[in-house]
């Protein structure tokens, strides 16, 4: 984990794809359809908030530097949210 705070602008498209796979693997992100999505609550934002809550991060619902840093830590492959 770098002590330097990574400026937000540095989240790349690759990071976003990494984050999406992370949320699928560990927080049961599924490709949802339906009213909630149409109202703009993206499943990814929802799952990001759940992940941030689990790890005690600031709950922003968006892919910020802290969240990405936590996702990149070495970890166990068992999901954090059981189906």
């Amino acid at each position: 984990t770098a002590v330097l705070s990574v400026p937000l602008s540095e989240v790349s498209v690759e990071d976003e794809s990494f984050a999406k796979n992370y949320l699928k693997k560990f927080f049961n992100l599924t490709e949802e359809e339906g009213p909630a999505v149409r109202r703009g609550i993206s499943p990814v934002n929802k799952k990001l908030a759940e992940m941030q809550r689990f790890f005690g991060l600031q709950i922003t619902g968006s892919l910020d530097a802290d969240t990405l840093a936590m996702m990149k830590k070495p970890r166990c492959g068992v999901p954090d949210e059981q189906v």
Binding site: T1, A2, V3, L4, S5, L8, F26, F54, F55, G56, L57, Q58, I59, T60, D64, D66, M70, K72, K73, P74, R75, C76, G77, V78, P79, D80, Q82
Partner: protein, 373 residues
């Protein structure tokens, strides 16, 4: 904040395990010892007993594999996912797989300590899910821990005993070390070990934990000190940042460690005398670097020393009494740091805000003031 379970557990107390193959990273004896020790972590606090078998199907089958390995849950090469395990049950149930693209070690922090990863995975093999308590063994991310001094944390003890009960055969006359707990930032009676800044963050230390408070986020992030600095001490006495050197110094007893970012600085740990402190000083209580004067104050009991960072010498005329420089400060200083031009002196569970130039005290705050409860 607590452990979680799958709702599935073994109905028997005597379980078998089998090591199917080995990683080339460690000797056979080291792998055997790591796996056996990892299972004993759980046996020590439950009625569970583990017997090794060398052929056939065991309850817990242990293997080192890479990428796709037959359970539709492929590994991902070096880093990221280190291992996984399955909840109690037939077939894959209870089995633990270790990603052999990782570099496993017996006890070195230069790789991933197999014992620590295995103990975590065997928690899953016995029915535990992940815990969201930082510092718990069942917390999802890996942190280096010294296998020789490892004690199963309280949250994990609570979790596994929720499933299987305590160790009925434990000898009451033997005092086991108390399971470590994770300090609560909002505990108004908590006394912090040290506080420092580093590259714009404020870092608070307690036991083997730290909280990092970032300028752009509300919630300080708790984690193990060693998840940031694997070679750092725990239960430290003091810490300060030298901005000129872009370095954080951590003090424990007579030794001083130094880190830039999350890299250890070569040549450390050094001794307190390297910072101009007299040989007779065996530990310090707190350290404060004054950005304006470039001096660093070392607090020892009722006294403090002043170290000139640029000349690397202790200033003449010290030690002096703390309450000469800090009005109204009558008790031992436990931590100190500067923030936005003010000096914050921790004493017990309180924080006093001072103008260091005049020594006047502005406010009395609680220790959780910066931890944003």
């Amino acid at each position: 904040a607590r452990f979680s379970i799958y709702g599935r557990k073994w109905q028997k107390r005597s379980l078998t395990y089998r090591i199917e193959n080995y990683t080339p990273d460690m000797s056979v004896a080291e792998v055997d010892a790591s796996i056996g020790k990892a299972l004993q972590v759980w046996a020590k606090v439950t009625p569970l007993r583990f017997t090794r078998i060398y052929s056939g199907i065991a309850d817990i089958m242990i293997s080192f594999v890479r990428r796709e390995h037959g359970d539709f849950n492929s590994f991902d090469g070096p880093g990221n996912t280190l291992a996984h395990a399955f909840a109690p049950g037939d077939g894959l149930g209870g089995d633990a797989h270790f990603d052999d693209d990782e570099s496993f070690t017996f006890r070195s922090s230069r790789g991933v300590v197999l014992f620590i990863v295995a103990a975590h995975e065997f928690g899953h093999s016995l029915g535990l899910g992940h815990s969201n308590v930082p510092g718990a063994l069942m917390y999802p991310t890996y942190s280096y821990r010294n296998p020789d001094t490892f004690v199963l944390p309280q949250d994990d003890v609570r979790g596994i005993q929720y499933l299987y009960g305590p160790n009925s055969r434990k000898d009451p006359s033997v005092d086991d070390p108390k399971p470590p707990t994770t300090p609560d930032a909002c505990d108004s009676n908590m006394v912090l070990d040290a506080v420092t800044t580093h590259r714009g963050e404020i870092i608070f230390f307690k036991d083997s934990f730290l909280w990092r408070s970032f300028p752009q986020s509300q919630t300080p992030q708790q984690s193990l000190i060693r998840s940031l600095w694997p070679s750092a001490p725990v239960d430290i006495d003091a810490a300060y940042e030298s901005r000129q050197l872009d370095t954080v110094f951590l003090f424990k007893g007579r030794k001083v460690w130094a880190f830039t970012g999350n890299q250890p600085v070569r040549g450390y740990p050094k001794t307190l005398t390297a910072f101009g402190l007299p040989k007779g000083v065996r530990k310090i209580d707190a350290a404060l670097h004054d950005v304006n004067s470039g001096k660093t104050l070392f607090f020892v009991g009722n006294n403090y020393f002043s170290y000139d960072e640029s000349r690397k010498t202790m200033e003449q005329g010290y030690p002096r009494l703390v309450n000469q420089a800090f009005a109204g400060l009558t008790r031992r200083v436990t931590a100190a740091f500067q923030h936005k031009g003010y000096t914050y002196i921790y004493s017990g569970p309180y924080v006093y805000e001072y103008d260091l130039g005049t020594g006047t005290r502005h406010r009395e705050l609680r220790n959780s003031y910066f931890l944003r409860c």
